[in-house]
Amino acid sequence: MNGNKNPMKKFFGLAMAAVTALSMTTTAFADEPYNSYNYDTWDDPVPSQSVYRVEATITGAEMQLDRLRDRSDPLFYDEEAAVTLSDAADMSWDDDRKELWIADTKNNRIIVLDEELKLKARYYTVEGSGVDGFAAPGGIFVNTSPSLGCQVAYIADTDNSRIVKAKVKSATELEFVQDYTKPDSSLYTIQTFLPKKVLADGAENVYSVVSNISTGSVQFSRDGTFSQYYGANRVQVTAAIVAQRLWRAIASEDQLEGMQRNVPVEYANFDIDIDGFIYTVTEVTTDTDAVKKLNAAGYNIWNNAVGNEYKFGDLAGGQYDALTKKSHNTRLTDVDVSSTKLINVLDYETGRVFQYDSECNLIAIFGTKTSTSDQRGSLSNPNAVESYGDKVFILDGSKNDITVFVETQFGKYVHEAFELYDQGLYTEAKSSWEEVIKRDGGYTTAYIGLGKAALKNEEYSKALKYFKTAYDQDDYDKAFKYTREAFLRENFTLIVIVIVLLIVLVIVRKVMKQKGIRLIKRKPKRLNIEDGFGILGDAEKKAEKAAEEAVDEAEETVGEAAEEAEEAAEEVSVSELEEAADDEEKEGE
């Protein structure tokens, strides 16, 4: 009956299966051109979920830089104006106005983009500064000036040997406020003044990373006078430096002159957070001063020399690069502190951004650098990093574009969790951590977070389990301490009873042994003659005393034991005497 239908059904079934199979294989799967990873407790790289994904790469065309050539456009500059960025060196995000300022170094101009990364303003010069145009501006910093109450830009105009502070007048004009030039101070001993990066704090002190100055950043006060060097790096102690130190001790004056001097590496870049702490990065291969958090006095809060263990960048031996399989040295080139105090550190060598929370816990690693670097998310010369909301921008000086990373759903949970966790709201962070673990079971900090939440709720065994999973020994230790206290508190009576019982048992046994009493009657062993010597004389006295003690002890505590002891005490004197007599007899023989 259904004979006719069946072949059709079969055919359709086959066709459906084929279509499904084909569509499965041909589905384009947009993934990052790298494997996301994270570091575990042993600093081993472990695969992880992506916290950020590439949303877009913004080139000059997408920024609408061609408007600069359009005569009818208010932002028109020149028919020949460059429509791409060229080796742009620095970026600054103005959080008050949602603007991204870019120092377009080779094009000698400043480009301002709006939230959508479309052209909003462009500046080719600062009016009234006495210098026409910029010359390879390498650094930019924008904020709202507390004293002027308006938006000001600090531009490190490198080849003009000045830092210029300018008020924003319009989308094409900047008004001169102040410039900062080569300090006229005996402390400033270098001939050149080539500011590379610039920063201003709440009191409008200006800090600048200047080429060839290794004694820290140059700090100017608001009126343009040089005040000091700020936050110098230290020389990294290597075997070569120690050896050189020894040579210096025995070298003559002439030899000393010919020797290489050991100077610390200058910073690569810095950023300031809303509390006024300055974060610096240095392109060094190891962790001496790689990332610093400086307070107003220039003291490094993340100082590993005082027993901390802050680690940044790829950890030693961490070459988890399935694509390049190359060994590399980390070169941290830029740092960015977001408004939520997430710290993004950009590694020039690998094109990776390492994101940390305010306590230096590693949150995520994203971005890469490949030989071709023509895939989205792959970088060539990553120069600067900035962040806004759930986005991270990376400026590429070779591809001349901005790569926009946006947080994934996983990233959202991670960030939520970290935000609460860093405030100490462990219980509140619990649900977010659980979501994190659902997506990435190897995310170490999630277990620590859950453990702390459990500890706060006095769920000790749970806390211990979580800390053990994360292999967090210090927190485990704390949890263990509480667990032990709770255990002792709950079982105090029982423990005391057990101890007393044990003591009684030991005493009773001793007494019984001394008196030779056995609960189970056995054939008496042949006694050693030596054993008899010591106790023969005062055996009786000793036995009586011990028996009395035993009775006292026993009566106080447990009935059973007391009975035994009493029994023992009754039998003691008789049997002891018998034994002693036996011994004497044997001796006599």
Binding site: Y471, D474, R484
Partner: protein, 209 residues
């Protein structure tokens, strides 16, 4: 006088560091079986130290557990010590036989092993601030064993105190030499093996091809 079982003798030498070994020698006591058990227990203590130490104290890399280094550190070191000491002291008028040295050395290790187990046990009940309990027990065992080892060697070879110390220092040197030679031999044999194997493959190819 001094009629003990094997366990009794171990107890006697451990708690009588000054004369214990002399007594044992006088009575011609000491069991090689017990000595081997003690060496095995030393190995067990090493493993326990790594695996059963309280979590908050355990610094071992838990992802990999390789038993060979532990075996080398306990059993191999012990027998190298015995052989080294025997080789050295035979030349320097020591009276100890290989068996005697083995037995006496093993007996001397008992406090160390026991204290190691105790400190492992303690580590499961204390927090990091109270680490001193654990370390003090550990060092108690270590020092005790060192003292016993000196006495054991002194009794085994009938040396003076000074000569014992010197012989022990040179035993350590001998151990290093033995281990160095062993490694050398091993790598040489490996090369011989590789050489032989390559000849074999060469011939095999010729025959086949």
């Amino acid at each position: 006088m001094y009629e003990f079982s094997t366990l009794g003798w171990i107890k006697h030498v451990v708690f009588h560091p000054v004369e214990g070994f002399e007594d044992m020698r006088w009575k011609k006591q000491g069991s090689i079986k017990a000595a081997l058990v003690i060496v095995f227990l030393l190995f067990v203590a090493m493993v326990a130290n790594r695996q059963l130490m309280g979590f908050q104290f355990n610094t071992a890399y838990v992802k990999v557990f390789n038993i060979v280094p532990l075996l080398v550190q306990s059993v191999v070191y012990f027998f190298t010590w015995v052989i080294g000491n025997w080789a050295l002291c035979t030349l320097f008028d020591g009276e100890g036989t290989l068996k005697k040295i083995c037995i006496y050395s093993a007996y001397a290790l008992v406090p160390y092993i026991v204290c190691e187990f105790i400190s492992i046990l303690i580590s499961n009940f204390i927090v990091q601030d109270e680490r001193i309990w654990m370390t003090s027990v550990h060092y108690l065992g270590l020092i005790w064993s060192v003292v016993l080892m000196i006495q054991a060697m002194k009794a085994a070879h009938q040396y003076s105190f000074g000569k014992t110390i010197v012989s022990m220092v040179f035993t350590v040197v001998a151990m290093l030499l033995i281990l160095f030679l062993a490694i050398l031999l091993l790598s040489l044999f490996q090369q011989v093996y590789v050489f032989g194997y390559s000849i074999y493959t060469e011939i095999a190819y010729r025959i086949r091809g």
